[in-house]
């Protein structure tokens, strides 16, 4: 009988540092073999959460069961089945790539560390640089080595802390491909991110962490329905025109900025509504000098969810 279908179960985690409450009762669960994204802006508590789950930190209260073992009571067992790939590559600069991999192979007690190392060097395209010191590697190579090191011992859960922060678009896509293929092989993936798009692209389930609490949880599709839709930013020639536009568009939800002579209008995201909006302005002889479409940011999401919660309460 399978006792734990969930790879990770978190219940009411709390953590404070020096009188600051970082986590205020966080609960969620992650299914085996799925990709789970913890989404939040900087300071939300993502790194604290992942550090607790990977046994680097002790929670003040609450429980976390990772791969069937309690992180507080049974840390050694947890560590046998997990791997952490942090934001900055945790590799040894003075050793060569091969030596790094063999060292981890030895520490994970794999049958043949040299063979495992050779395979991974091949898989991550590091054969040519294998016997050079890691200090000579490029940023991308260090990251590939970092992931390769995390794969040794076939962990059942791999944790990624902000895997693409600071990466160029090409490296980011590459990382996404790697993560997807890992999940395809049955590994459970837990990642933290500040990018909506990343969570959307990769995750089977997303939980949004804001100021130490989970404010929303669900599949990307379900969460998108909660999001404010499109926003169009219009720029005008002068204050008079801006005022006229505001008067005209009272039926829309708008936010103005007199300094930049711009007006942000919330729309339903369709081209039809955008056309309607622009046509209206043209008919009233109000000239739009510039317009840009803005994608919803995390802040928009939080505000929306927080407002929704407030409304629910009242």
């Amino acid at each position: 009988m399978e006792k734990y279908t969930a790879a990770i179960t978190v219940d009411q985690l709390r953590k404070s540092y020096k009188k600051v409450d970082v986590l205020k009762g966080v609960s969620f669960s992650v299914e085996k073999g799925s990709i789970f994204a913890l989404l939040g802006s900087n300071g939300a508590g993502k790194t604290t959460t992942i550090n607790i789950l990977t046994t680097l930190l002790n929670a003040d209260s609450g429980t976390a069961i990772v791969d069937g073992s309690d992180v507080a009571k049974d840390a050694t067992n947890v560590r046998k089945h997990i791997s952490l790939t942090g934001q900055f590559a945790a590799v040894d600069d003075i050793l060569t790539g091969r030596e790094n991999l063999e060292m981890i192979g030895d520490l994970r007690h794999v049958a043949n560390p040299a063979e495992t190392a050779a395979k991974l060097l091949d898989q991550f395209d590091l054969q040519d640089a294998a016997d050079r010191r890691v200090a000579t590697y490029s940023g991308g190579m260090r990251r590939r080595l970092d992931i390769a090191m995390s794969l040794i011992g076939s962990p059942s859960i791999i944790f990624f802390d902000e895997p693409t922060t600071g990466l160029d678009p090409q490296s980011r896509n590459s990382m996404w491909e790697t993560i997807k293929s890992l999940a395809d092989n049955g590994t459970t993936i837990f990642l933290t991110t500040q990018y909506l798009e990343e969570a959307d692209q990769l995750a089977d389930k997303i939980a949004i962490l804001n100021k130490g609490k989970i404010v929303a949880e669900g599949t990307p599709a379900a969460l998108k329905k909660l999001l404010p839709h499109g926003q169009v930013e219009l720029k005008f020639q002068n204050e008079k025109q801006l005022a006229a536009a505001i008067k005209l568009l009272t039926s829309y939800q708008t936010t103005q900025d007199e300094e930049s002579l711009s007006l942000a209008v919330t729309t339903d995201g369709t081209v039809a509504q955008l056309t309607q909006l622009l046509t209206k302005l043209e008919s009233a002889h109000i000239e739009v000098t510039e317009f840009t479409q803005k994608a919803p940011t995390l802040d928009d999401v939080f505000l929306k969810i927080v407002n929704d919660n407030k409304e629910k309460k009242s």
Partner: protein, 253 residues
């Protein structure tokens, strides 16, 4: 047992760090050798008068060896501090490797490399006139005491490395140890010191350790201070080891 295997894996890593920065080994032996040459050739004659029969080079060789060890272990503190700052320690901490293996690896490699440095310095001492009648038994005891002293000071270094806020500051404590060597019977008999200093020199740990080494190599006997020397070394080792593990486990990243 997997803990021993893991400790050796970590030690191998530290040893590679040491051999790949050869300047570390060279720096570690150059100062003691320079000191040795200075004391023997420049001050030697003056000191010789108060020593009588004992040759000055024979008198100071133990202190020079101790000095070699003390300069060498500072690097263990710096390397550990570097690991902590660079974040690789997080990878080790999320693996099922015992904390005593992670720290023990540093300890083992430090002990081995310092034994090697001490050996080099001893060779130079032999070149400039150090002679001994010590037999196998005495040499074994001498090496044993050197290893024990190295282990004890290495764990002290590990503790310092855990506390240090910067890599540069991590090795600073070794200057205190160096100072203790000078303020002992290492380079001059304590009888020649002022009363307060003499009391300090007689009771601080370096003196009994150096006296015991000197006794083994020069007189062929273990001498009166062996018990005290052992007590200091074992005491420091136990305290430093226990504290280091405790600090390591509670250190937040």
């Amino acid at each position: 047992m997997s803990m021993i295997k893991d400790t050796w894996t970590m030690a191998k890593r530290s040893l590679r760090h040491t051999t790949r920065s050869m300047d570390t080994i060279i720096t570690v032996v150059i100062t003691p050798i320079a000191m040795m040459l200075l004391f023997v050739y420049v001050f030697g004659e003056s000191f010789q008068k108060s020593l009588g029969d004992v040759k000055y080079i024979d008198f100071i060789t133990p202190a020079i060896i101790i000095m070699t060890v003390v300069s060498g272990i500072a690097y263990a503190a710096v390397r550990l501090s570097m690991d902590l700052q660079k974040g690789i320690i997080n990878r080790f901490k999320t693996m099922p490797v015992a904390p005593s293996s992670i720290l023990g690896g540093h300890a083992m490699s430090s002990t081995l490399s310092n034994l090697f440095s001490s050996f080099l310095v001893l060779l130079v001492a032999l070149l400039i006139g150090f002679r001994t009648d010590a037999g196998i038994a005495e040499w074994s005891m001498f090496i044993g005491l050197t290893v024990l002293f190295t282990l004890a000071t290495t764990w002290l270094a590990i503790l310092m490395g855990l506390f240090a806020k910067t890599m540069e500051g991590a090795g600073a404590f070794s200057y205190i140890l160096l100072f203790l060597i000078f303020l002992s019977s290492g380079f001059t008999p304590v009888d020649n010191m002022a009363p307060a200093l003499r009391w300090f020199a007689e009771n601080q740990p370096m003196t009994p350790i150096i006296e015991t080494m000197r006794s083994l190599l020069t007189n062929g006997t273990i001498g009166d201070s062996a018990g005290v020397a052992l007590a200091w070394c074992v005491g420091l080792l136990v305290v430093a080891y226990v504290l280091a593990l405790r600090v390591y486990k509670t250190k937040t990243i």
